[in-house]
């Protein structure tokens, strides 16, 4: 028994009652934590170039990403990154550390289902859609780039 009209009225009523998140404090925390993570990345990069003067800039960036990914995975494993995420929201989700957290956390969570069916299968449940979107959009951009080049 579905009553569409009643449903719409109820949904509108619920929508009006839902407590709203305050955008400004969330944005502020997100901004400064996200900024701090970027600053950390820059710091690691500068340090690498300082310690290894012969290192090519490209490889220094690759090493910086590896260090950040490792740190985030480590913080996830010791149960710290979820607390940062709860406080900072997008600030700690958007940087590569968030990506690392989204792969490590299901890998830990599902280890009881075994290495193959647990960790390996579930590892990309959260990061998977992000990777797919990235690849698909890069293909589309590539095609547009090619067509624009022909004209």
């Amino acid at each position: 028994m579905k009553n569409e009209k009643l449903n719409q009225a109820y949904k509108a009523y619920v929508e009006a009652r839902i407590p709203k998140t305050k955008p400004w404090p969330s944005l502020f925390n997100s901004f400064w934590v996200g900024g701090l993570i970027c600053l950390l990345g820059q710091g690691v990069n500068e340090l690498l170039l300082y310690l290894f003067p012969n290192m090519a800039e490209q490889s220094a960036w690759a090493w910086t990403l590896i260090v950040l990914i490792f740190l985030a995975s480590f913080l996830t494993a010791i149960g710290v990154y979820d607390k940062i995420g709860k406080f900072a929201g997008g600030g700690s989700i958007v940087p590569i550390t968030g990506f690392s957290n989204s792969i490590t956390s299901p890998a830990i969570e599902f280890k009881h289902e075994g290495v193959v069916y647990g960790t390996c299968v579930k590892m990309f449940t959260i990061a998977g859609p992000v990777i797919v979107t990235g690849i698909v959009s890069s293909v589309i951009v590539g095609i547009i780039y090619y067509i624009v080049g022909l004209v």
Partner: protein
Amino acid sequence: MQTIELRNRPKIIGSYSIVGPKEGKGPFGKYFDYVMKDDRLGEKTYEQTECKMLELAITGAVQNAGLMISDINLLLAGDLLNQIISSSYAARAFNMPYLGLFGACSTMAESLAIGAILVNGEHFKNVACATGSHFSTAERQFRFPLELGCQRVPTSQWTVTGSGASIVSLDGNGPVISMVTFGKVIDLGINDVNNMGAAMAPAAADTLSSHFEDTKTKPEDYDLILTGDLGKLGSEILVDLMEAKGFKLGKNYSDCGHSYYTRNQDTMCGGSGCGASATVLNSYIVKKMKQRIFKKVLFLPTGALMSTTASQQGETIPGVCHAIVLEAEE
């Protein structure tokens, strides 16, 4: 008529509640029979912990009733996990007939209602009714991995780690189950899985108003009207919905989930899960009724009957609500 009167007056002669450490720090903390030191009980997985909690609750309730496991003739239990594994796996430990129930978070009332009817009809002498939930098993089944750094939305609720069990019988002492009202499945089109309170409130309103009409009673006739896990938002919606139906819920209305945690325990709209209503009923309510502080209680937990698959396919969330009337012994 959705309401049945139980003339032989079946009673809750034994009850037991076991909760996790966070729940133990909440307002009901001192009423629970057993507060776990950690959320694992020495088990390897959280699913095994949830199962173990149910076993302990059932054993505890049987002891509380002054009975032996062999005196129990039937076990009615259910939980939130796929194929209700916690209940069925817990039932392995007991050598007794078992009926698995799924009423989501309404399972405590569903099991007590069915148990009371079976006892009232003298088909079974002693029936055990149990349910439970665990925060970490619910999170992984319905939401995200525990260590994922994301924020909870303001309408979300915190699944209670806890399990409760009752023994229903005609012989013995305890609150009487005088009436039961079975609820219809109601769906008003809410599809936000982070807003269960709003999805289930219409089911509670339907069962509650049917109960009042069937029994010709009013909200004031009860010392306490207690829903399960509507949470802050859901219970506010229920008050509004009931007002629209012409029933004014006053100070004698409360929700287990809404009052389950303190404000700084950071649970947004409050507690949820089968364990919320099961542990409050089998500790606080039963104890206060034995002291005759509450003489007549209407207990009506609600359940959201969705699955992750249905939700991902865009289905809305159906709700259900069953009610039982508890009366303190004369």
